[in-house]
Amino acid sequence: MRCRRVVCQECALTWDGVNHCRACLELRRGQTRGGRSWLRWVGWAALTSVLFLATGWAMAWTVGLWARRG
């Protein structure tokens, strides 16, 4: 148990063979989610930046093409 608090057998939650109290386990889950969500946002930012650059270039190309046709 990370918090060293005494918890009865019924209230203890076992994870990977180690007993945790509910608060500690929720904290661990939050840390895991936080790490994943941070990575997800970085991935989103990279993908969106690439899409933004490519779309801007394609828009300039298309508008130029239509203007030459018109």
Partner: protein, 261 residues
């Protein structure tokens, strides 16, 4: 009156539903107009710049990025309006908190909108393909993160909705041009200066005025379009989630005791 949950609406029902939803969310419509106007004006300027003689490619690229950056505000407005349009009574859709869009939903809408725009621009040489992709821009904003199969279910209904909106665009354009001409005529008699100059600026032969008029027409019709698309997505969700079957079974169960009696 709202369509009951689970019922598959037709194109006319979607349009009716879209109009009704817009009347319940005027605050969000106003916010959308304010957010979408800068990108619309920037797009008009970009097109006029490209068609002007001597238009160079480097400023065209910079201006395209400017349009896209302002377009992010439009996407925000669309997502917020989509949330307001999908709110059902007793949830009030007209509070300012509707503008507090969840970051995840906005991020998905931005990525999907950019992807759709990129494909549309790359197919720009075909002219018709970008037009066919336009409904997707609205769909990914009103239902960010929704599966493409759900968004595009009932393609005939979607096509019918857009065919119904085409004469609507024409009617709005005629009315808006008439209104602008009336106001200009009234102002020209009051304001000092050359009245012919104002008349020339507000003539359909003036490309800037024509482009701004078309941009304004699209802004007028867009909330109704988004409302109809929201209704379409909700109907598609009900169908894929089995809610329409649940409603149908409930109706059958309700009829059964009457028959037995």
């Amino acid at each position: 009156m709202s369509l009951p949950r689970g019922v598959t609406p037709g194109a006319v029902d979607l349009l009716d539903e879209g109009l009704e939803r817009v009347t319940r969310a005027w605050g969000a419509v106003g916010a959308f107009w304010m957010l979408a106007l800068p990108a619309r004006v920037a797009l008009v300027e970009l097109i006029l710049f490209a068609t002007a003689p001597g238009g160079r490619s480097a400023p065209l690229l910079e201006r395209s990025y400017g349009v896209l950056a302002l377009g992010l505000l439009t996407v925000y407005g669309r997502v917020a309006l989509g949330r307001a349009l999908s709110a059902r009574p007793p949830v009030p859709p007209d509070r300012w908190r509707i503008l507090a869009v969840p970051p995840g939903g906005y991020a998905r809408a931005v990525t999907a909108s950019l992807a759709v725009l990129l494909i549309a621009m790359l197919l720009g040489f075909t002219v018709l393909a970008p037009l066919a992709l336009l409904p997707l821009l609205g769909l990914v904003a009103v239902a960010p993160g929704e599966r493409p199969l759900t968004l595009l279910s009932g393609p005939g209904r979607l096509l019918g909705l857009h065919l119904l909106l085409l004469p609507g665009l024409l009617v709005v354009a005629v009315n808006l041009h008439g209104l602008v001409s009336l106001v200009a005529t009234a102002l020209s008699s009051v304001l000092p200066g050359d009245p012919q100059r104002l008349a020339r600026a507000l003539a359909l032969q003036n490309p800037r005025y024509l482009a701004l008029l078309l941009g304004s027409v699209s802004l007028c019709i867009e909330p109704v379009w988004l409302g109809a698309l929201t209704a379409h997505v909700e109907a598609a969700r009900a169908r894929t989630g089995g809610e329409d079957l649940r409603v149908w079974l409930e109706e059958l169960r309700a009829r059964a005791p009457r028959r037995a009696a």
